[in-house]
């Protein structure tokens, strides 16, 4: 066959379509999930090291740049949560009495679980 043309793929292919960009951002959310683990471990470390260390951590966490990082991280983590719940019903097929539970119901259940768990965690911490 004379010359097939193969379209080159640009390094920035994910800028070509909005949906690709959202996808890449969604994938990048994992970096912020990892960041959160680091942040959490710092908190754990400080807490177990005593109240002065804990106060130090609180002060550090209030630095403007730490807050900015965390705000960005929160945005990405929320993006992660929303996209994750949005896609979960596609993978999960639940059957009740032989009938398939509609995906919309599964979605609602996910959000409910999210809400309850978040409230519970907040209660444990703020109690």
């Amino acid at each position: 066959m004379s010359g097939l043309y193969q379209r080159p793929i640009s390094t920035f292919w994910w800028l070509e379509r909005r949906s690709y960009l959202v996808f890449v951002l969604r994938e990048l959310s994992s970096v912020f999930v990892a960041w959160f683990v680091v942040y959490l471990l710092l908190l754990v470390n400080a807490t177990s090291a005593g109240s002065t260390q804990y106060e130090r951590f609180l002060d550090w966490s209030a630095h403007w740049w730490v807050v900015v990082i965390n705000l960005i991280a929160l945005f990405f983590v929320l993006l992660h949560a929303v996209t994750w719940f949005g896609l979960a019903p596609k993978a999960i097929v639940v059957r009740r009495r032989g009938r398939r539970v509609p995906p919309s119901q599964i979605l609602v259940l996910h959000y409910l679980a999210w809400l309850l768990l978040s409230a519970f965690v907040a209660w444990v911490i703020l109690r």
């Binding site: 043309y5 690709y20 032989g98």
Partner: protein, 247 residues
Amino acid sequence: MADRITLEVARYRPESDSEPVMESYEVPLREHWAILDGLTYIKDHLDGSLSFRWSCRMGICGSCGMTVNGDPTLTCATFLTDYAPGPVRVEPLRNFPVIRDLVVDIGDFMEKLQAVKPWVVRDVHSPIEAGEYLQTPDELDEYKQFSMCINCMLCYSACPVYALEPHFLGPAAIALAQRYNLDSRDEGAAEREDVLSSPDGIWACTFVGECSAACPKDVDPAAAIQRYKVTAATQAVKNFLLPRGAR
């Protein structure tokens, strides 16, 4: 409404071009005219050398997929008026080698399709005289959605993983494998597992989801892939935990 619209069409003539060039044509803008009608108008009246595939012009044969204004589209099922006042960019489907103008090479998919064994596999085929295999409407619903694929290749064209990783089995082939896996008459799931659950199979899919967004027949190949990931992962855990004989 203006009565004409411009189509910018990608032309690629392998004998003379090293890459596609865009050419503009003016075609009538009429109600009910699909993009495809614009292209056939060009071929019939303006330039007979434009090459593209089409056949049924009712959205079922899967021939006429192209990239319209950047989106993978069935050109017989999208209408010029939706793009008015234009211009409309018509290019070949992305992610496939271009043979000529708007015609792409889908040989790769045809091989992958065969690789997933899209046919009923059974240990024992019951004789025709024994009548049909019973299948309730609910059992039919289990796989029906995945049986709607017209092999139009829009999903491959939309999937960035396929663009980057040509060995990726891809959405439609996996959806069709699932169509048989979920069919109550089929017993071939184990035979398909090796191909599906390979690094170039489902695990290469990062759930971009664009395949399902592009699919004109609501096959939802992304769902097929994710569901199979759950199945394959469960199977792998089982294989890992249970000794060989007990499986």
